[in-house]
Assembly symmetry: C2
Homo-oligomer: 468 residues x 2
């Protein structure tokens, strides 16, 4: 049993039949499908939310086709739900009001790589792994790495980040330019290939994180980073969560340009030991990664180790070769799968608050306390360099009381984070699942967002039922 | 003689008299002034554009007063022109349609510094130098440094940057949270103190760079950087502009985390030698600055020097102590004054294109060629790490032919930059001076900006005549 977002406004949307269906069939041919399996798959994301299938799925091969589809849907007031890898965690791809799921995964070309400019231009359906595969020969990589192998269109739409944001930023910092089809069916280009610009409103930043509600992203120019000369990884355990967090803060405060600094709590480590056949100490553990020159990495690592020791860390495990690094970080890489396996048959509800560093330990301990007093287990993993952590509640989908309790704890975690000046979502977005939290966080600013939405999409055809 | 932006729409604005004047006097008392000197000063920025004085100037002491002022002006349809240090370079503070200049410089409190979180919260009228003075004891600094000692409200409003953006980003990356008063008189809070967020539309990024046309910024929470353990500076000359630029690109490509990398062309060096009593070789010269640990800086500097030598650089001059570094960088610091002194009585028109690095040398040579064929001298200075450069045309304000020619060359420089995938303005903004360039650059996306503007400020009272 999954909880269902309401069909929450009274707008009456059209259905895909008659002339609308004919027009879409003319554009997409057999790439328009009403097949139940495909529809169900396109209405199911990786969240705890009840799947909601669209009325049809169109696989777009070009921006021109997307523009045509939007025009047809606009004429008949049919909702458009943009669809990438389907890995969203807050129901972004659910067809809350039915309509057309517009799948962009066929648009999977890397259009240009300019090594000298640290830029790649991709179609919206290119996945981050496919891009990085293509970049390897250029000595460059794209550093934003949400857990899933998401599409760059989807990552842009949800303002995704991941483990390397502490050093390289999120999609907010790494999208330079974009093309998108608006609700009018018109395609616009925003941003530029240059490193910075003061040319009018920052529409690229407005589209990043707009969750498909302002436009369908078709093409993105991304900022790339040079593959570092040297990469070194480490893991280190602490006796307490606060020691681990305080060590992380000390490392950042010292100006160490750390590339990744991740925390798994003792329950997550226990789950990971079981799942990944490891024998890590069942304690709060930091996973560290250093990027730089040979000497630079050695210096960073030495300083970080000294700071961890000040917070009574255990011994360090180190690795530099790719295989060794992957082995060392296995618990982190498999954390999500390990969590689900920790309580067979469970479905995880994942929180995503992000707080100022000074309050991170408090927020983590507060969350841990709430969970320990609850009826289900939960693991905590955090991008601690950003002050972002995920508590995954491992709830039994057949026990409504657990779901209800999970919602209540989630709300308490969010309230605590907001009181500390944080945000309800560091990287997963609002979607259909966090609308109440957004109102708590942003207050009247949500009305400003809604005003912009209405101005750009007066009929509400672009991903209705999300954010608002 | 300065060129005048047109009063370009037919909207009829109200004037500050009768009940409007009484209401404003009730709010501001003797901090509302109609004094001609104050009005003239508030209608004059640092650009080549003709000053346009507001009808009155109000010195606001709080957000509540700003909200009151906006409500009064909204009721009488009186334009509001937010005013910080007045250092804008594209006429942002000109009262193109008259109205009230709302000066925020009395709002000069640093409200909070959280060293652990790398955050400072300031009122909009705090200048960047005042903030950095306050931060020194915390071991932190705010890295965005436009030439002038601008206010942080003004810097946010124009999406300012400066010499350290290559390492630390611009206002786009360094504003975390904001309060602003909208055209309705309502104050909203956007963003959060957290490092990242996916909570709905990125209204903070929309307000950054909106040039006072969407809201009056009252309070800003900024991201800070730790003062590096070691800072080292260098200058080095090259035989050609392309060698200097290629060396800069090689340094960035090698992943050197350089803090500053600035270019002065041979004409600017000549001007600087005369003005600052220096004897630098009159060649294109790079000014470099490295931040990091003792060893890290040594390593960066060594690698950068080796790369410069590959491009036939002259000998390096190095400095580490603050006074020595300031002496070494004197030509860069005084560049603007030196430029003006190079042609006594001149007034500079400053271009601001920003282009992908791979086309930077071409763009610089193209600009130099145009200038050399013209009737006035010009100097070029560039934030080459960002692909951003300024050609300052030293025009005789009494010779209309020079102004006309300067506009024509400026347009050609912009066209060339846009053809390379760049932007017409890296850091100065659109204001009243670059509206045609914005249309060329952003095309129909300008209409999307205008739609947002109309939705949030239907009566067009917030800084009318700017951007659009």
């Amino acid at each position: 049993m999954r909880s269902t977002p309401d069909r929450r406004d009274n707008q009456v949307y059209g259905t895909i039949d008659g002339p609308a269906r004919e027009a879409l069939e003319t554009v997409f041919g057999d790439r328009l499908t009403f097949n139940t399996t495909v529809r169900t798959q396109h209405g199911t994301d990786m969240s705890y939310l009840e799947p909601q299938a669209p009325d049809a799925v169109a696989f777009a091969a070009s921006e021109a086709e997307i523009a045509e589809a939007v025009k047809i849907c606009a004429a008949h007031r049919i909702p458009i739900v943009p669809h990438g890898a389907g890995s969203s965690l807050e129901g972004h791809i659910l067809a809350v009001h039915g309509g057309l799921s517009l799948d962009v995964t066929l648009m999977d070309k890397v259009l240009a790589v300019s090594a000298e400019d640290f830029r790649a231009t991709v179609q919206a359906g290119v996945t981050r792994e496919a891009l990085n595969h293509e970049l390897r020969d250029h000595g460059l990589f794209f550093p934003v790495d949400p857990g899933a192998n998401a599409t760059l269109g989807g990552m842009s739409a949800t303002r995704a980040s991941g483990t390397a944001a502490v050093r390289y930023g999120t999609m907010r910092e790494n999208v330079m330019r974009m093309r998108a089809v608006l609700a009018s069916g018109e395609a616009i280009e925003v941003g530029s290939r240059a490193a910075k610009s003061s040319a009018g409103y920052d529409l690229a930043r407005l589209l990043v994180g707009s969750e498909g509600t302002l436009g369908v992203i078709t093409e993105i120019t991304l900022k790339l980073a040079p593959i570092p000369e040297k990469i070194s990884s480490a893991i280190v355990a602490f006796d307490s969560l606060s020691d681990a967090v305080d060590a992380a803060i000390a490392i950042l405060q010292a100006g160490v340009p750390i590339a990744r600094i991740e925390l798994l709590d003792e329950v997550q480590i226990r789950a990971s030991n079981a799942y990944s056949k490891l024998d890590l100490a069942e304690k709060p553990t930091l996973f560290l990664e250093f990027h730089g020159s040979e000497n630079g990495v050695a210096e960073q690592a030495e300083l970080a180790a000294a700071l961890c020791e000040e917070f009574r860390s255990g011994p360090f495990s180190w690795a530099s070769k790719t295989e060794d690094r992957n082995r060392l970080w296995k618990a982190r890489h498999d954390a999500a799968h390990a969590a689900v396996a920790y309580r067979p048959g469970c479905r995880p509800m994942v929180t995503d608050v992000c707080v100022p560093l000074s309050s991170l330990a408090d927020n983590l301990l507060h969350a841990r306390g709430l969970i320990d007093a609850s009826m289900f287990p939960a693991v905590i993993a955090g991008h601690v360099g950003d002050g972002n952590f995920h508590a995954a509640f491992l709830i039994d989908p057949d026990r409504p009381a657990e779901i209800e309790r999970a919602h209540a704890i989630n709300a308490e975690i969010v309230d605590y984070a907001l009181a500390c000046g944080g945000t309800c979502t560091g990287e997963h977005g609002i979607g259909a699942g966090k609308q109440k939290s957004l109102r708590k966080e942003a207050g009247d600013a949500v009305d400003v967002m809604a005003t912009i939405k209405r101005a750009l999409d007066p009929d509400g055809i672009l991903n209705p039922g999300k954010i608002f």
